[in-house]
Structures are given as C-alpha cells and as structure tokens.
Symmetry: C2
Subunit: 115 residues, 2 copies
C-alpha cells in the first residue's frame, strides 16, 4: 500500500470527513492523543482505514472510513474517544467541521508518464 | 467564514474526496494549475465549496462539495479541467485516490473553553 493512503474495499462504505484548524497550543499533547485515537479507531469493528493531512498553517483534514453507520456511531460513543474529543474541542481546535457521507464510487491510480 | 473552511448548505449534498501524494516535481506549475482549477471549479453550476490541506511530506486531501451528481459529472467533463487532470496524473502525482460520496449529515463548532 502506498504510504498515507487507506486500502479500502469496493464501495459502498461510509466516510467521516473531519476538517479542523489547530490553535497552535499543546502540540505534544495533541500529537500523542491523535496517535492514540488512530490506534483505538483501528481496533473498532467496522473500521476500514483513514487518511490525514495537516498543512503548515494548521488546517487539516482527516477522513476515516467505516463499513456502516452503526460502526460510526459505536466509535462516536467509545468512552475514551468521547473524552478525548471533548478535550480537543476545548483546547486544541480553533474551529472544526464534521461531515458523514456514504461513498458511492471510487477510483485511483499511479502517477507517472505512461509509455 | 473561518479561513479554510467551506461554508455549506444543510445536507444532503455531494463530496468529492481527492487524496494525493505529490512527486515533488514542477512545484510552480502545480501551484498555478491548482489555483486555476480552484477558480474554475468555483464558477461551475452546483459548486458549493472546497477544503484542502497538504502536509510537508506532500500528502494532501482536497474535498470539493457539490449540489448533485450532475454537477460533479459536468466538472469532470469540463474541457480545461480534463486536460489539467490528465497532465497532473502524468507529471505531478505519485499516487491518487478519488472517492465520491453523498453527505448525509454535518456538524461543526468553535473551539475554546466554554464558560
């Protein structure tokens, strides 16, 4: 698998698109929590994968992929995740947006000149 | 509107999730084309907004939002976009993934400690 990309089954499946701007505070605490949440999410039933990017200005997008809506709700209510999410809203983000979407089709490819 | 965030209507609407890793080549050409494509997309019927992030390692996620599937298809077939997309696949990306999804619900918020 190419680094950074989620290896996903064929659609349909669900995406949770989380956009956020960091406030620049508590980078060590944030990084540790982000890693812990990624590990914990990966243990959830119905977790398919995730992709994440954050630019130098602190604006980031994380998309996590799930088998179905029940898996998303179970992750939302997972106790440690709920506590960390509440902490993040208070201390780590200037602003965030979360969108839940059903992926209907997908394509991908390698770059490079084809001979 | 907070910088970087798309200001969107209430769901349902569609998301095109484009994940990519840049190959590090032709940064000036890529940046100019990315800006031109963002401007051109914003002129399309049914365009709702977009959010984008690329990290220091060249992994990026751009999510563009559209009113319906017809708007996504029209953008896909827009002539200048099609030419630029083919160029990008050959010269700018190591790898890319594109997923089309229907956004079913959305939430957002401001960070900061609530008194």
């Amino acid at each position: 698998m190419d680094e950074g990309f989620a290896s996903l089954p064929s659609p349909p499946y669900y995406a949770v698109i989380f956009s956020s701007r960091r406030n620049g505070e508590d980078e060590a605490g944030y990084a540790a929590a982000a890693q812990r949440m990624a590990e914990l999410a990966a243990q959830q039933r119905g977790y398919l994968g995730a992709e994440s990017s954050r630019d130098a200005g602190g604006f980031g997008i994380t998309v996590s992929y799930w088998q179905d809506e029940a898996a998303i709700l179970a992750w939302k209510h997972q106790a440690e995740h709920a506590v960390t999410r509440a902490h993040g809203r208070q201390y780590w983000y200037e602003h965030y947006e979360l969108r839940v979407a059903k992926v209907e089709r997908a394509y991908g490819g390698k770059g490079g000149v084809r001979k």
